[in-house]
Amino acid sequence: MSNLIDIAALTDIPKRGARVVKTGHGCVAIFRTIGDRVFAIDDACPHKNGSLSEGIVHGNAVTCPLHNWVIDLESGQTQGGEEGSVSTYEITVKDGRILLDTTSLQK
């Protein structure tokens, strides 16, 4: 079962950028890549909770603004030898609108 919620237009997020959605479980960062792919992951770095939505987005990864860990947006895994991962959420874009699956938020 999925429960898609329309949260915003794709263009509300700059390319190679991110913005957050507030949820009952903390902030979820929504990323838009240069190729217009969209990802949703927890806005907290597995290292020391750095706000990942404030990082620099490159390819399908983000570099944490606090100590430069690199997190893969699709899998939520850290890259380059660091240990850790963040939760990812189902998200899609349809007709220019971003739809977030809120069932995956409750897990």
């Binding site: 509300d12 902030c27 929504i30 020391k48 706000s51 603004p65």
Partner: protein, 814 residues
């Protein structure tokens, strides 16, 4: 009695459908064809070469009077159908009422006119039909006529190229960051822009049209940033909209287009639709290939054969003579996707293949599209390419079979094979140079010029070195900026200057970046180099900024921020202090601290409060202290002659003057100054990036000190007698640093590389150079000497940047 088939719209889809139909069953229907245009079906695609004067209009007519006659088609050209009466099964037009048994709607699309003032003025045209082309050709008759094209997609660029061929002065306004963004990635878009510009077509990206001006005819276009571009002709090429009005009025199911099923039937079984006016499976189409497939299906449906429409893969080519461009499929990046990028900057060639599970899913090619059909075929057949992956990008000619060892490949190369395309250096010349003692890249470059231009052959040179020297070879390349490129910071700055590269994608293309959009190391550096080199033209890329510079505050370990307003030269007033205290109270600031930079820091501010904190501080006259920037930080001062019994000059006043001149400027790393009123040096000037010590009768200016991770005393630059000279020397030194240092080198590191002698020659001895440096700094400051807080606190930033994208907590509560 034969059934009556009425077709509305004599366009490309209906033309093809009629051909298919008369082939299948010549006498199945009594055919009537309505067309709003005064002529029959023609090849709309070829309007571009007609506009460019390359193809005569007669040659693009696909169906002539003879054809309609032979196939018994009653033509009603120049006659709009204004209404469909489904109950009576009739269509209504100027000529009256026409009965139908079956009806086909093939009304295509209409140009979308962006909703700005002046869009209806004479002289503003779309680019859709021959009537539009006639109007454009008439406008091009005017000597030195100026055309503005709104929209830098396929249509807009074909219009631009055509009008340029017709002798008009053409400017293309494009809303997005690069041309044809729907078909091209930024690198290819950049190459295309460069090509058009080299022909004399002006291209403005990120252009937001505010209005079209003119009294009784168009005169100019004005952009949101107040730029005014004179125009005798404005072509709206900002998109198309399916022409669905009569279908909507008739109560058919219409979404973006007229909704049809796989057999092309609308929600009324006696009414079919085909072409750009339809929506199939939530998709509307804008290229002919799928429309032709639809036409085939519809013809079968009309003779009661089962057929269903399967959307084909569609590729795009731009019909501008001399521009080779091809794109197909999906070119977004993805984790499960890989890409193979080939760039040959000197030939202006760029190819990118996007792979998923060892299959090609997207292709972008610019400059050399000879192999496009081969790639397209591989994409359509979903061939597994893992066997030929190594040589795939080189196309069919290279598919010999076995994978090769690159060194063996280089070893087997003949002496006259060209290695450096820019400078035409062959392998033989490089081998001779190596044998004569050039044992590293720099030496080869110096003696042969190989890799001296774009540098993309550096890898091949390295391999020639390895092959030639054998065991004596030791990799000796200087450190590249990051893993995305082979070039060093210095080489990149050189390329930016010599090739006038004015955007990050341009640098990535010309310097052979191996990733599509860089990384967190190279992007901030490139963004700085752009700002430093093209202060007036470059638009700062906030997505290539570190968090602090993007948010104009220092992020703290818990995600809050510190806010640090400027206190010019360390001076403040009771009013300023009250404003700071009020802000601290109002926003529950957990800590207020006097910094080591002679000003006051508010620590622990919530992100969403930043704009209002700034607005409050702005209201009291306080501006950003840039405590977060690679830019001017503080100018510390001591009290000087105003109060101190030892003071020799007005150190406070001079410090304030310097800070007011320098603030807001971006530099390779941060820059800190201090001015002390006497050699007792209470402002610690001798460990700053620029330190000034006032003495009797003058000022001692010294530079390149450090008091952070390293401790270094400044080195004397010059001793001068007037404040103006101090200011000029300081500004010239900082500008020289801005123009030459690599990103993230403090001045002391940079001076250690170039030498104090070199700096003094330019800043102290050569008065003309000093003046020019100051002038260039001032040009840059005309843009950057402003308060970023005031800008960021503006209401329009609130929704797009500071507010959350959505608040699902509230949603849940509701």
């Amino acid at each position: 009695m034969t059934q009556k088939l009425v077709v509305i719209g004599a366009g490309m889809a209906s033309g093809r459908m009629l051909e298919e139909l008369v082939d299948l069953a010549p006498d199945a229907y009594d055919l009537t064809l309505f067309g709003a245009e005064p002529h029959g079906n023609y090849n709309r695609i070829m309007l571009s070469p007609v506009l460019a004067g390359e193809t005569p209009w007669q040659e693009i007519i696909t169906h002539d009077a003879d054809w309609y006659h032979t196939n018994n088609v009653t033509c009603r050209f120049g006659e709009d159908v204004v209404k469909i009466d489904r109950k009576q099964k009739q269509v209504i037009s100027a000529g009256g009422v026409t009965d139908y048994d079956k009806l086909v709607i093939a009304t295509g699309s209409a140009s979308f006119f962006i909703p700005v003032a002046g869009k209806d003025l004479p002289g503003v045209v779309g680019f859709r039909d021959y009537g539009d082309v006639e109007k454009m050709l008439a406008a091009a008759q005017k000597p030195e006529g100026r055309a503005v094209i709104i929209g830098g997609g396929l249509l807009g660029l074909e219009a631009a190229a055509g009008l340029h061929e017709q002798g008009m002065d053409v400017t293309v306004l494009h809303l997005m960051g690069h041309l044809m963004e729907r078909q091209l990635d930024p690198a290819a878009g950049y190459l295309l822009q460069k090509e058009l510009e080299s022909r004399g077509i002006k291209v403005v990206c990120r252009a937001h049209t505010r209005a079209i001006l003119g009294k009784d005819h168009v005169e100019a276009v004005v952009l949101e940033d107040d730029t005014i571009i004179a125009a005798d002709l404005v072509v709206m090429a900002a998109g198309i909209r399916p022409e669905t009005r009569i279908a909507t009025d008739a109560g058919l199911h219409v979404e973006r287009g007229i909704v049809v099923d796989d057999a092309m039937a609308t929600s009324d079984p006696d009414i079919m639709a085909v072409g750009e006016c339809v929506e199939h499976n939530e998709t509307v189409y804008g290229l002919v290939a799928p429309l032709y497939d639809m036409a085939k299906v519809l013809a079968r449906t009309l003779v009661n054969q089962a057929a269903s429409f399967v959307p084909p893969m569609v590729s795009t080519k731009l019909k501008v003579t001399g521009v080779e461009l091809f794109s197909v499929g999906d070119f977004c990046e993805g984790d499960d996707r890989e890409e193979i990028v080939f760039r040959d900057p000197s030939r202006g060639v760029y190819k990118r293949l996007i792979l998923e599970n060892d299959r090609i899913i997207g292709v972008v090619m610019y400059g050399d599209t000879a192999d496009s059909s081969w790639f397209f075929a591989k994409l359509k057949s979903a061939d597994d390419i893992s066997e030929i992956r190594d040589t795939l990008i080189y196309g069919p000619a290279f598919q010999g079979g076995e994978a090769h060892d690159p060194l063996a490949f280089i070893a087997a190369m003949s002496g006259d094979t060209e290695i450096c395309g820019c400078n035409g250096v062959c392998k033989g010349i490089i081998v001779s140079a190596i044998n004569a003692g050039a044992h590293d890249l720099a030496a080869i470059k110096a003696t042969t010029k190989a890799s001296a231009s774009c540098g993309s052959c550096a890898g091949a040179l390295e391999q020639v070195l390895a092959v030639t020297l054998g065991d004596d070879y030791a990799a000796s390349t200087p450190q590249p900026v990051c893993g995305c490129t082979r070039l060093t910071h210095e080489e990149i700055r050189q390329e930016i200057k010599s090739k006038a590269l004015k955007s990050i994608p341009a640098v990535m293309q010309e310097c052979g970046w191996t990733t599509s959009c860089g990384c967190a190391t190279c992007r901030p550096a490139l963004n700085y180099y752009m700002i430093a080199e093209w202060p007036l033209e470059y638009v700062d890329d906030s997505q290539s900024r570190f968090v602090n510079e993007r948010n104009h505050a220092n992020i703290q370990k818990d995600g809050t921020y510190s806010v640090l307003p400027r206190m010019w030269g360390g001076m403040t007033t009771p009013d300023e202090l009250r404003a700071i205290a009020d802000a601290a109270d109002k926003y529950n600031v957990p800590a207020v601290k006097v910094t080591g930079g002679q000003r006051i820091d508010l620590l622990g501010i919530q992100r969403e409060d930043l704009p209002s904190v700034w607005a409050d501080l702005n209201a009291a006259g306080l501006v950003s202290g840039h405590a977060y920037s690679k830019g001017l930080r503080t100018v510390k001062t001591c009290v000087g002659t105003d109060f101190c019994r030892f003071g020799t000059q007005d150190s406070t006043g001079l410090g304030i003057k310097l800070e007011k001149i320098l603030w807001g400027s971006w530099t390779p790393h941060k820059v800190k100054l201090a001015v002390s009123g006497c050699p007792r040096n209470c402002s610690e000037a001798t460990c700053k990036d620029v330190g000034i010590i006032c003495v009797d009768g003058g000022y001692e200016v010294s530079v390149a000190g450090a008091a952070g991770m390293e401790l270094l005393e400044t080195q004397p630059l010059a001793k001068v007698t007037t404040e103006q000279e101090v200011i000029d020397l300081t500004v010239a030194f900082i500008q020289l640093y801005r123009e030459h240092a690599r990103y993230l080198d403090r001045p002391y590191k940079w001076v250690a590389k170039v030498g104090m002698g070199w700096v003094r020659e330019r800043v102290v001895d050569d008065l003309q150079e000093r003046a020019e440096l100051c002038e260039r700094f001032e040009i840059s400051q005309s843009v950057y000497r402003k308060d970023p807080w005031a800008e960021q606190a503006k209401p329009e930033y609130e929704q797009s940047k500071w507010a959350p994208l959505a608040d699902l907590i509230l949603e849940a509560a509701e």
